[in-house]
Amino acid sequence: MGDHHHGPAKGLGRWLFTTNHKDIGTMYLWFSFAMFILGGFFAMVIRAELFQPGMQLVDPAFFNQMTTLHGLVMVFGAIMPSFVGLANWLIPMMIGAPDMALPRMNNWSFWILPPTFLLLASTLFMEGGAPAFGWTFYAPLSTTYAPPSVTFFIFSVHVLGLSSIMGSINIIATVMNMRAPGMTYMKMPLFVWTWLITAFLLVAVMPVLAGAVTMMLMDIHFGTSFFSAAGGGDPVLFQHVFWFFGHPEVYIIILPAFGVVSQIIPAFSRKPLFGYDSMVYATASIAFLSFIVWAHHMYTVGMPIAGELFFMYATMLIAVPTGVKVFNWVSTMWRGALSFETPMLFSLGFLVLFTLGGFTGLMLSIAPSDFQYHDSYFVVAHFHYVMVAGAVFSMTAAVYYWLPKWCGRMYNESMGKTHFWISFIGFNLTFFPQHFVGLAGMPRRIPDYALQFTDFNMMSSVGAFIYGASQILFLYNVIATIVAGKPVSDEKVWDGAEGLEWTLPTPAPYHTFETPPKIDPAHAHS
């Protein structure tokens, strides 16, 4: 089987036709970073316009296009693909598999993404402009009142959904069938566990999103009335279908982040993860609960009180497994031997800020209070604490943590730490004041605001520019590491790191685990 031992092909063909999980993981990661920059650019336009009251830079219609595209690009282009990239790189290495179960499909699920986002971005130049109805695209604003580009938007969502489903099927097939002998489920690293559960969520709910946009398409072009009262439909039905997808979707984004942090905190605490079993069960409970809480996004829509109470109680329950996770991470640190390299700093940043986002989440679950919070900047602050400080911080931590293993070179530690502190300060300066303006009554998605909100918005904008600029440092550090970082050759780059990926040579060879590794049955999970 000499065929298996050659290195990567040369030139562009390597990337176009590759079926290697590491190549595909790399492409996903770079693509998602590019989308992160694009979505970040949209965010900068938003924050620049909101720097002071009055319309300065863009008109309100364009502003709405920016908020819509920012949300779509960040959720579907940056965060989700970045974790798929991470899964591609790491899952085979963590479970002792030579590659993903379905390498050819892996290639397709990546390569349909870039053209789709190109199409989505091109709607900006179309007649009537890009979609301007928010990333939640509520009907009838997204159907009867939508710009013509909505058809391209629908097509994009279909393809993105297809890509996600393909990626998820691949991950499930890999985890279920390709584990090395002795790698039982309860020995899998937590990152693999969280991704396995995430992948099941994706397979279950991406088709629901596809269903929602299909109904939109039919309403717009084929005369049906799913979401139009005139023909016997109901715009509120759209919200139910959307959030039936949308709530699991937010856990799809955060669960892999939990997995990453559950790998990194033990490594830098030099102590095994506390409560591995309860972590697995908590993840599964969160996934299950995510299916029965969707209407907490719709408390003001006019539900019967029984509905409000059911969704309020169910949502509050999510605090229990989420709390278990936070307590476990803190207990992992307790009486460890902690050190604070960049991955650990970002993980701790995650821990603190995600917990704050969890608290505001609990507040938002309380239906009567939500009548005041709903659709205000308080909500914007909340979900950026869980999406950015949650998902993006943990993703950043992951890159710093595994980059030396991937490329055999060490990043610049002091630059990494600088990146962390600038990010941390910039992030909080951006989003903490948004709690205040939200509570004081500033609605979200407005291009201009009343004078009493000025100072906090100004702070928010300054913070956003700082956070945005810190990403340039990140990009520079990563490129500098790949090109000219200090070589490392220890298998275990980090002395506290556990897991099969750290038994491989550094940098990880193009093909790994062509013969399955031996797993010590006495050794607990990694």
Partner: protein, 381 residues
Amino acid sequence: MCFEAKRLIKLALGPVLMLMGATVMAAGGEVNQMNMSPGVTEVGKQIFDLHMIILGICTIIGIGVFGVMFYSIIYHRKSKGVTPATFHESTTVEIAWTVIPFLILIGMAVPATSTLLSIYDHDEAEMDILVTGYQWKWKYEYLDEDGENVSFFSNLRTPRSEIYNTEKKGEHYLLEVDEPVVIPENTKVRFLITANDVIHSWWVPELAVKKDAIPGFINEAWTRTSEAGIYRGQCAELCGKDHGFMPIVVNVVSRQEYDEWLGAKQTEAAEIKALMAQTFTMDELMERGKAVYDRNCLACHGANGEGGVGTPIADSAIATGELGGHLDVGINGVPGTAMQAFGGQLNDVDMAAVVTYQRNAFGNNMGDMVQPIDVFNHKKG
């Protein structure tokens, strides 16, 4: 210059301000308000108390969790030469931190449920107001058992010059309307909420009311305010281009003032009826027409009829064409475009005035006049 300097100082002091946040209990709509306002209703106060309770519990839990975490960060450092422990589970502890949060949640659910029940109270209201969301304004209709409904539109009053920074912004920038909704204090008022086009959401923080306005369906919410005053809110659901420019102003007055106001509105409606029979001079129509134009047409068609979102009016085929066609566009709108049917929004006097104005301003010089009776007749067909 001085203004900018002040801003910068405030900005620099921002983090300090944030720390003070918990102690600053600002009343509604104040500059740099940092917390929810209890508002002026019983329900609002309940919601505020609930909000503070949950915030308090979260703060205490947060201090506990972060306390333990920072203790570890400070004392359990590798650089201090500690040997890491090896424990990795404890059934007792894990059960405890599953059960205790659950009990805390039950503790939170009790006041939450009772507050929700008071929001959903269906006691008879003394008056009903139908609130209809439009792109991008609100319409209020006071339902009257004798059929003498009073209704009017409430538009943003902030001039474009303030929004586009050519003039200094007023105190209530973006939170001011040409005609506020007026309600009496200490009276249970029921709002029936619906929409004409897309979903909007009627939100006045100090009345503790936020309810979605959904086209085709009707929602209800209620309030009973204890204090007279002017309360301001905004549309809370993204509803298109001018979502940020459709404020709500509620003027809460004494019962007596309310009755006077309502009487005046009813008289005004009767007067409009009378005016419809009148004949106006060109000057009267032009003056009234300019006011109507600035309020209703300018946003899309431009201050000088140069167009924008809407087509230009200066030298346009419609405004310089046959009168019947012009009236038709004004009254019935142009289906499939942003041009709405104004027939139901403007009374016949205003419609006559604005059409006359459009035909004789911005360099258009048709010289013809439209009288209210012409509009009336055109509507009748």
